[in-house]
Amino acid sequence: MIEVANLTKRYAGFAAVDNISFKVDKGEIVGFLGKNGAGKSTTMKMLSCFFPPTWGSARVAGFDCVTDSMEVRQRIGYMPERVPLYEDMRVEEYLDYRARLRGVPRRARSSAVNEVISTIGLKDMRRKLIGSLSKGYRQRTGLAEAIVHKPELLILDEPTAGLDPGQIRQVREVIKELGKRTTLLLSTHILSEVEITATRILLIHKGRIVANGSPGSLVGGAQSSRRFRAEIRGPVAMIEAMLKGLPGLKGLSVAPGEEWSVFTIDSDLEQDLRADVAKFVVDNGWDLRELSEEKRTLEDLFVQITTTDEVAPPGAPAPVSTPVAPAPEAPPAEPLKEWPEGGATS
């Protein structure tokens, strides 16, 4: 449904989108994940034919977004981040107008509008001025507009941005329903959202795709190592030396405190070092206050990848295929290598 090859958008001096390539098959729900300014919206604007790429190509349903822009525009539904709507129109009137622009034939129009109003849950609002709608209903109106012509591809740029938790749940339900009918590309920086709705995640950072896979595989990738956290009172240097001798240890970092020091221990997936650590501490007569395993989530992956550049020393090549980033407050004793090459692409 979408084929993007070497897509690049350069503005004076920097690349908002830097040579990205990906494919989306029919029926997929792809979550576009990244920080603000990572290039999500720029990519979506190129796919929706708002502006063309600097170079590279984007194709939707086999049509090029630049040379066959009209064909592409007829096949997509697009909701920009700010959900721009004509405030002075009524919901029904607006949907009818947009359906007309989208080429829905006159006879089919009122039924198409009615259908979309009931699907999205706008029945009570159909005669309301868009300008008087709450944020949640505005968002729904935007969604209704995007699907009124039954597009093959739906592009939603941060559909839940600025909504309250209740509205987010509602909009998310609507999106899930829509995902059953069309191919869907949605961007967000809310991780739980893609974990719930998306079948695949494209993680974009600084204009590049840094991870591409199903939520399960990405989180699974995150769990290729285990991380434990121990708070121990005792001589830091000695404890560190002892911990380094643990079997299957992959990384160790210390945040020394006045009394209690926090040790972050990374190990192989097979190893559960907690018993060993407890034994060590007790044997040496130190004190143990906390010993726990940190469960990795998509959020860790996200934070880890997207904070890379802030932490990496200047001049260091930005890790792309195997992002390695220490937690800011606890520099690792040795480089961590959590993310397998398979789970991430450059």
Binding site: F50, M70, P84, L85, L101
Partner: protein
């Protein structure tokens, strides 16, 4: 801009309808129209003291042509600026409509609104008929054609300027300055062509006179619809619309 065949026919009515009706959703339109008609009525009243035939209408319409340099910018300022600011322009240009259709529909929407704003002044002709008996209707009709062509030129230029900025006030002021320049400054320079550079080699008066809006209105005031003047206004209108299309397209190379 790559258009399908028949595009212009399919989308233009819908777009134009939207552009036209959008005028009435804001109180601005009513304020503008009210002030405009008050102004026109007052002017006509004053003109009637000296002239009690078709000349009163001609003077009125010529005067309105000047007044339009203030009123038209208020009509055109929101055309694209507002959509740029609110982001609806993105919705518009990502819909399967061409930039040409967008520009033309916005032009037509504003033209229809202006025509509607001018329309009540035709009542003045009826007043004249009551007073004078037989005013020169042909002369009045030609004056209206001239006023409409002039207004459409203003609209086309205003539309283009509105496409350059997201700020409506900036658009209005720039449009006013541009129109005022064409209406007055060019005429003023014609009078003092001797002081312009290279005036020995370049026929400034001819050039300036050709550029001058007012010069092209004169024959309409005499009851003539001269094709040269129609061509002039048509050129200005086309230029304004063409520049608007290019300005809309410019997002593609920025």
């Amino acid at each position: 801009m790559a258009g399908r065949r028949g595009d212009l026919v399919t989308n233009l009515p819908a777009l134009t309808k939207r552009e036209f009706t959008a005028n009435f959703y804001s109180p601005m339109a009513y304020v503008i129209a009210t002030f405009y008609l008050l102004f026109a009525g007052l002017s006509f009243y004053i003109l009637l003291r000296d002239q009690r035939d078709a000349n009163a209408m001609r003077s009125l319409l010529t005067f309105l042509g000047f007044i339009h340099t203030i009123f038209i910018p208020m009509v055109t300022m929101r055309l694209i600026s507002e959509e740029r600011k609110s982001g609806t322009l993105e919705m518009l240009v990502t819909a399967p409509v061409s930039d040409t259709e967008i520009a033309i529909s916005k032009f037509l929407g504003a033209t229809l609104f202006t025509a509607l704003m001018i329309a009540p002044t035709t009542l003045f002709t009826w007043v004249l008929t009551r007073i004078n008996g037989r005013p020169d209707i042909g002369m009045i009709q030609a004056s209206y054609v001239g006023l409409m062509l002039l207004s459409m030129s203003y609209i086309a230029l205003g539309l283009f300027i509105s496409s350059l900025t997201a700020n409506q006030i900036v658009a209005a002021i720039l449009t006013f300055v541009t129109l005022f320049t064409f209406y007055f400054l060019v005429g003023f320079l014609t009078g003092s062509a001797e002081s312009l550079p290279f005036h020995e080699k370049i026929p400034w008066p001819d050039i300036l006179n050709y550029m001058h809006f007012g010069a092209h209105l004169q024959s309409f005031g005499k009851g003539l619809v001269d094709s040269r003047d129609v061509v002039y206004f048509a050129s200005v209108i086309s230029l304004g619309i063409f520049l608007t299309i290019k300005s809309l397209e410019s997002r593609r190379w920025r």
